[in-house]
């Protein structure tokens, strides 16, 4: 634990240094990078040790109780790896800022990293909730960095309201769980788990609400697309890659403390997983804004993680250790993988936005020539998120598939519904990322913005390729990640690791062989084809326009037209509103929950409350009368209730 | 013989999906005709050949005659008379209808395994029966045209017919009454339809039936 706290101290020092050295930007940048790197590496060491098999760590300072067990270790790596990459990227990107408070942005980012690390290591309700709230509020300030834009402020406000609703649910959760006299340590909660009424039904519902709001489970995702799209890209990367995973961590922690969640909860999580996954990717497909699209994909991937989590919970409920272990392991691994490739994608998107100044898909195009390295990084991230071999997304989806199909006999076999859901999600995600990659990077530039695109500087490419390395490594050598994930899964399910069965472990070598072979053959095939082409007469010409002689960039397929056939199939679910006239076409993707439910409900509530406005008119003596009236009412209540023995005076 | 019965029941289900998924009126009618024919063969498939009685054979012949030949012909005639050869025009899309259909089959199957029906029957028999009823209701609810609603009604009837087969030994003539009801109701509905057509050539839309209310 000492190393962990040392690392934390270094991260905090990075934050302080950024605040102190504001006047000397170059030194500040270097100091920040150095200290954050040192901090993340130091803090990650104990996590790796725990995952490698050294027992759990613990450190207590009164009620401030912290520890690293297998679950915490896995999530600590999720925080520190992508967190470090985002910090580096942000450090470099902020270096170009002129008018905004760069030092404060760096400080807030470092503090956010520290808060995240504390959330996953807290072992008591008090440190957990404090760290949680610090994390949530800091994220708000990080999101509204470009606060001069109205839509950024609105996104921040919606986020703030949503996250506090979530915190409220969490406070209620722990209050009910701990009871009137119970201890507030997680160990005490675990001991009380069996005594919870109705198998902890209330706790589980509150957990879904509180942690679901953070994770962005449909229909609680409504704040997410705006917030993630409006933040600076390195913040988006951290929010989408890491912060929403704290919701997943919370669900995992609740499950592991409860030990045996009831079956209905597993089914509910599984169903929410399918809904979040399918709707998330469908809504992503409808987006015209690069970063909003990526944000919706986070909703989709949370769905995939929930499929694993739900299967795992069902595995416990029905007493099938194989399903429990595989489900949890798949969910954990997908959490890590999504943190890697979603951060990568947001950083890549940040680089394109940085280079072109626009997030509108239909204004981009042809960037593969102008920013070849960013393109490679973005392509790897895209292939990984779609779940294609030889990358990491495939490995975790493979695990989740195994869990969904692993269910012995009886009702748990119905987890196979998730197989169909996951297959549908996979197909839609492929279409969506084909759209993003194709429209943004391939073809010809669709606007002057895209024509002026230029390669990202090395300081931005470095973190991206660090994440690329992570994606490729887990894909090519799945043992590295799958074995620890299985250990974590087994720990959460409280079964021995061997419960995962020999089949999964035995499969790791052939998967590695296929992945490496695939990459090797693609490489040699390309080289061989290049040799063949050298021996053939090659002509270069304009793209064949089917007889039309003067094709131009505006004739290319657009993002909207690419997605149209799929969206048409899903009808109103896709939330696309079209405006057609003879000479123009405009389509807009509605956020169905926010614009369809939350805002109208908010308006209704506000309208109702507006009628109470007359009570507040600024005359002091009337306010005093209010106070007296309330006092009298209270006394009256105590008098009446006290008479029946309800309330002690 | 059980396999043959299973196969027939499966085809009954598939014809249901054909009706839910097709865009054409005529295919709908063909689908319900095929369904009727399959149902006619079902009593034969449920019993081995030596146990066939005149009752079984009569039932099969009657069912095929009514459900597979007479009613579809009647419906086709009605289409020709009213000159409606347009598409189905569903209120709920074809894909959504099919998806709802498969949900219906899944639910029906789950219920069928728990239903306390006396006697030995293939589970698929009960599942098909319930599925047919739900799919019929689905067609009734989601298709606007009166003619297709007749098809939906027939599907519903077919479901009840299949259910009747489970008690054909214990309650004689139950199924026959069902088939007779078919004729009666079929003719009755056709009468309404034809009458309706004679009055208003422009529409067979059952939404207009609301105009009849007081």
């Amino acid at each position: 634990m000492t190393l962990f706290f040392l690392g934390l101290a270094a991260i905090l020092a990075a934050g302080v240094s950024a605040a102190v050295l504001q006047r000397r930007p170059v030194v500040a940048g270097r100091a920040f990078a150095l200290l954050v790197s040192a901090g993340c590496v130091l803090a990650a060491v104990p996590a790796v040790q725990v995952l490698a098999g050294a027992g759990p760590l613990r450190a207590r300072f009164g009620p401030w109780d912290f520890g690293i067990d297998l679950l915490s270790a896995a999530f600590l790596l999720v925080v520190l790896g992508p967190g470090l990459a985002s910090a580096w990227y942000g450090n470099r990107a902020l270096g170009d800022e002129r008018d905004r408070p760069v030092g404060a942005a760096r400080t807030l980012f470092a503090l956010e990293l520290a808060a995240l690390a504390l959330v996953v290591t807290a072992r008591g309700v008090v440190p957990f909730l404090v760290a949680w709230e610090v994390m949530a509020v800091l994220a708000y300030f990080l999101v509204i960095f470009e606060h001069e834009r109205a839509e950024v402020r609105r996104a921040g406000l919606v986020y703030l309201v949503a996250t506090h609703a979530g915190t409220l649910a969490l406070i209620a959760l722990f209050a009910f769980w701990a009871g009137p006299s119970g201890g507030l340590g997680f160990d005490a909660l675990a001991a009380r788990a069996a005594a919870l009424p109705a198998g902890g039904a209330l706790v589980l519902w509150l957990a879904l609400l509180g942690f679901g709001l953070k994770a962005g489970i449909v229909p609680l995702h409504f704040w997410l697309p705006d917030a993630h799209a409006s933040a600076p890209s390195h913040v988006s990367a951290l929010m989408s890659g890491v912060v929403i995973k704290m919701g997943i961590y919370g669900l995992f922690r609740v499950v592991s403390l409860l030990a045996t969640p009831p079956a209905w909860w597993g089914w509910l999580v599984l169903a929410l997983g399918i809904v979040s996954g399918v709707l998330g990717v469908l809504w992503a497909l409808a987006q015209h804004d690069l970063k909003r699209l990526l944000a919706y994909h986070s909703v989709e991937n949370i769905g995939i993680i929930l499929l694993g989590l739900g299967a795992g919970a069902l595995g416990i409920s029905y007493g099938i250790p194989l399903v429990a272990t595989l489900g949890f392991a798949g969910a954990i691994l997908h959490t890590l993988n999504h943190a890697l490739f979603k951060s990568l994608l947001f950083l890549g998107a940040g680089a394109t936005v940085h280079a072109t100044g626009t997030r509108a898909l239909d204004r981009l195009g042809g960037l593969a020539r102008r920013m070849p390295l960013t393109w490679v990084a973005f392509l790897v991230g895209s292939a990984a998120i779609v779940g294609l071999p030889p990358l990491n997304g495939f490995v975790s989806e493979w695990l989740v598939y195994q869990a969904l199909l692993g269910g012995g006999t009886g009702p748990i076999r119905l987890t196979l519904i998730g197989v169909a859901g996951l297959a549908l999600i996979g197909g839609l995600a492929l279409a969506c990322f084909a759209k993003v990659c194709g429209i943004v990077f391939l073809g010809s530039p669709r606007s002057a913005d895209a024509e002026h695109g230029h390669e990202a500087p090395r300081g931005l490419l470095g973190p991206m390729f660090g994440l690329v390395a992570g994606c490729v490594l887990i894909g090519l050598v799945p043992t590295l990640a799958v074995r620890p994930a299985l250990a974590v899964g087994a720990a959460v399910a409280q079964v021995p690791v061997t419960a995962a069965g020999a089949g999964v472990i035995a499969a790791l070598t052939p998967i590695a062989l296929v992945s490496i072979g695939l990459l090797a053959l693609l490489w040699t095939g390309s080289v061989a084809m290049a040799a063949v082409r050298r021996r053939r007469p090659i002509t270069e010409a304009e793209t064949w326009g089917c007889g039309y002689a003067l094709p131009n960039a505006r004739m290319q397929y657009t993002a909207s037209s690419f997605a149209a056939p799929l969206l048409a199939t899903y009808g109103p679910l896709a939330g696309v509103h079209e405006k057609r006239s003879p000479d123009s076409y405009h389509s807009h993707a509605h956020e169905l929950v926010l614009e369809g439910v939350i805002l109208p409900a908010w308006e209704a509530v506000r309208g109702a409350l507006w009628r109470l406005r007359p009570i507040q008119h600024g005359r002091l003596w009337v306010y005093l009368l209010y106070i007296i009236a309330v006092l009298l009412l209270l006394l009256l209540y105590i008098g009446v209730a006290g008479g029946t023995g309800g309330v002690a005076p | 013989m059980a396999h043959l019965a299973d196969l027939l029941l499966l085809l009954v289900l598939l014809s249901g999906f054909l009706i839910l998924g097709t865009t054409r009126l005529t295919t709908c009618i063909r689908g319900v005709a095929v369904q009727g024919g399959l149902l006619g063969l079902l009593p034969l498939a449920l019993q081995p050949v030596p146990q066939w009685t005149a009752h079984t054979l009569g039932l099969a012949a009657g069912t095929i005659l009514v459900k597979a030949i007479a009613l579809p012909w009647f419906l086709t005639w009605a289409i020709r008379e009213a000159a409606v050869r347009r598409e189905v025009e569903p209120r709920v899309g074809y894909i959504a209808s099919m998806a709802l259909g498969i949900v219906a089959v899944a639910v029906a199957s789950a219920v069928a395994t728990r239903l306390p029906v006396p006697g030995e029957h293939p589970i698929l028999l009960l599942a098909t029966s319930l599925s047919c009823v739900i799919m019929g209701l689905l067609v009734l609810a989601t298709r606007a045209k009166a003619l297709i609603q007749v098809v939906g009604y027939l599907m519903l009837e077919n479901g009840i017919y299949v259910f009747g087969l489970t008690s054909v030994d214990r309650v004689p003539f139950l199924v026959e009454i069902g088939v007779l009801l078919d004729i009666f109701v079929g003719v009755f509905i056709m009468g309404i339809v034809v009458f309706h057509i004679n009055r208003e050539f422009d529409s067979l839309d059952s939404a207009r039936l609301t105009e009849l209310k007081d």
Partner: protein
């Protein structure tokens, strides 16, 4: 064991180009023409391989990578199929996920190559290709679910080969039939056949797969055509494998039956193409969802027994 699996791999790689030829020949014979010989595709491939190529100045390396991936990905997918109805060259728990994902990788790169040209026609083809593929994916996986449920196994080799578990003709017949038909639908969609797509169409606006590879020429087109034939072989081998592996054959006999079966399937595709037109584009999703419905019925039947 592995010997026959390797022989199967070789045979599939060598004979796959026959399948489009068989389909075309059947169609020709049924429509009263003599038609091209069944080995026409071999000739085409050779001719294209020797030709030069034209590259659009707009394209990047993606355009050149896609044809290679178009062959390499089905090649690896073939390695996962137990073509001798015993065991595949590579097999592991959950390899069906890899099978689908490998083919998805090929499609992903192909769609990107189409968008690389910046042609509106190829964009159109890419869009439709991606859209229809996403609707087929659940059907394919539901088919695997039936096999996995029936056999209690998690690898293609054990689902389609080995002793084929408990899922055999007899009690499992209805659900097996559903799966076989559903996989046949998947074949039609994945290898761009009537009623989803028409390989013989001449109008770019109505094409799907053909228009997505419009700009590829020479050796690149040869690779794409060969990869397409291989995909067709794979997806034909799936339903055939479902049926043949339950017949208790093994080794050379099973391999022979499987290969003969794929030829028969190709002929059935030809019969279908000569007897029906392609569907209107807006109706294709209905057809593809029907494949999923069939497979779901198979799953329900499997759960009932």
């Amino acid at each position: 064991m592995t010997g026959w699996a390797l022989a199967g791999l070789g045979a599939m790689l060598a004979l796959a180009p026959l399948l489009p030829g068989v389909a075309a020949k059947t169609k020709a014979l049924l429509t009263g023409r003599r038609g091209a010989p069944v080995w026409q595709l071999y000739r085409d491939l050779l001719r294209l391989w020797r030709k030069g190529a034209v590259y659009s100045t707009r394209t990047t390396w993606m355009f050149r990578l896609a044809p290679v991936a178009g062959v390499v990905t089905p090649l690896f997918a073939t390695m996962l199929l137990p073509l001798d109805c015993r065991a595949a060259v590579v097999r592991f728990a959950g390899d069906f996920v890899a099978f689908a994902a490998l083919l998805a990788l090929g499609r992903f790169l192909l769609v990107l190559a189409a968008l690389d040209t910046g042609s509106s026609f190829e964009g159109m083809g890419a869009s439709r290709d991606a859209a229809f593929a996403s609707l087929v994916e659940p059907a394919l996986f539901l088919g695997f679910v039936v096999l996995a449920l029936g056999t209690g196994q998690r690898s293609l080799s054990a689902m389609l080969g080995g002793d084929a578990g408990t899922l055999s003709w007899g009690a499992g017949a209805p659900s097996l039939a559903m799966v076989a038909v559903s996989l046949f639908f998947v074949l039609l969609a994945e290898s761009s056949r009537v009623p989803v797509d028409d390989p013989a169409t001449h109008l770019e606006l109505t094409m799907i797969h053909e228009v997505a590879v419009l700009d590829h020429s020479g050796p690149d087109l040869a690779l794409l055509l060969y990869g397409g034939a291989l995909r067709m072989g794979l997806f034909a081998a799936l339903p055939v494998g479902v049926l043949v592996s339950r017949a208790g054959l093994a080794g050379p006999l099973a391999l022979g039956a499987l290969l003969a079966g794929t030829v028969v399937v190709a002929a059935v595709v030809g019969v279908l193409e000569s007897s029906m037109a392609r569907l209107r584009l807006s109706r294709v999703p209905q057809f593809l969802v029907a494949a999923s419905v069939l497979a779901s019925l198979g799953v329900i039947l499997q759960l009932l027994t």
